[in-house]
């Protein structure tokens, strides 16, 4: 099975998102590249609104992810509470 991935700009805001992703997806690999953070995982990857809000300490809209998003790979499943990536078999 191939990996799903997401890459974010390396800034103060993304750091909270990355921390939330790490908490929710313990198997994910986080790769720090110049000015970019890439997160990969076998199978699926989920970004939960609740976890990000807890890290940031404020209300967060899942759509705000796009401000810092560079690229992603995988089929996207998005609603008000989470954005998740996986590959449709």
């Amino acid at each position: 099975m191939s990996k799903v991935y997401i890459a974010l700009q390396d800034n103060d805001e993304s750091r909270y998102i990355v921390a939330a992703i790490e908490d929710d997806n313990p198997d994910a690999t986080v790769i720090y590249m110049p000015a970019m953070i890439r997160i990969e995982n076998e199978g699926s990857l989920t970004i939960k609104r609740e976890s990000v809000e807890e890290q940031m300490g404020r209300d967060w809209d899942v759509q705000e992810l796009h401000i810092n998003l560079i690229t992603l790979g995988g089929n996207v499943d998005e609603d008000d509470d989470a954005l998740s990536l996986h590959w449709n078999e």
């Binding site: 103060d12 750091r15 909270y16 590249m33 110049p34 940031m56 300490g57 404020r58």
Partner: protein, 328 residues
Amino acid sequence: MTLEIKTATLDSVRNTFAHIERRFGDKPATRYQEATYDVQSENYFHYRPLWQPEKELNDPSRTAIKMEDWYAFRDPRQMYYGTYVQQRAKMQEVAENNYSFFEKRSLINHLSDEVKAKLIRYLVPLRHMEQAANLNNMYASSYGYGTAITQACLFNGMDRLGVAQYLSRIGLILDGNSGDALTEAKLFWMKDELWQGLRACAEEMTVTEDWFEVLIAQDVVADSLIYDLYYHQFDAWLQDNQAQDVGMLTEFMQVWSKESNRWVDAVLKTAAAESDENKALLEQWIMKWKTKLMQSLEAISAEMLGGDALRAAEAVLNKRLAKAGLFK
């Protein structure tokens, strides 16, 4: 000629300051961490303060609350100067828009004389209470210990000036910028029997020495009761009496208190969880101030909203206290 383009990766020499690294490990730190933790001086002071020579300039013994680490008071909003200012600028822009819309469309004309009189008698005098809240939070900020809590107190203090100013502007809208409503409201605050209990509480808070007690009295007990009475129950009353437009003018306070309460709850929870002595002390302070403030708000709430209003506000306060692990 061929060109070969190479990329070179430059790793930063260190991730953060050494004192932040000692707390959180060697990894990139957030701005909040860098602007907050261990910022306040703790030793190597040249002189003791002339006004209190038995203590250091920054001294944890100015309150009876004891903490192993004063930086345990992490602000869940993670506000440092930069984020605080940005956040409030956003809120102010919204509030200014609301006020100018209210004035431009002359929404004041929709209010009945009864509602106007009620606003002047109950809402506008509250600006003096907010002024006291400013002093109390500033006091906690200057005599408190550890940047984590003192910076948040300072932010809260500044917010209260903002709230007081918005209340004054409501007064000015009501009296067509003549200032009569403010004079009248001040007279209520200074002379009317109804307000003297609350005024006495406000004055007593400003002369209470223990800064943590002041913080508990003001931000936990007084604010919880007053904000529920005014910005939830009175707000609902205004809606039922064709005065929902006033909600545009008090929206700032409602949104602000929701946000600020998250910090207050965190402070309460952290202090109570530290030790049984802290918990007992907090409970003792809360009981003392709750009794005083309930008494002083009794008449105001009964006149403004009816008999059960204060009980409802008390229930909200009790729920918050239980959530922080107190009185169990």
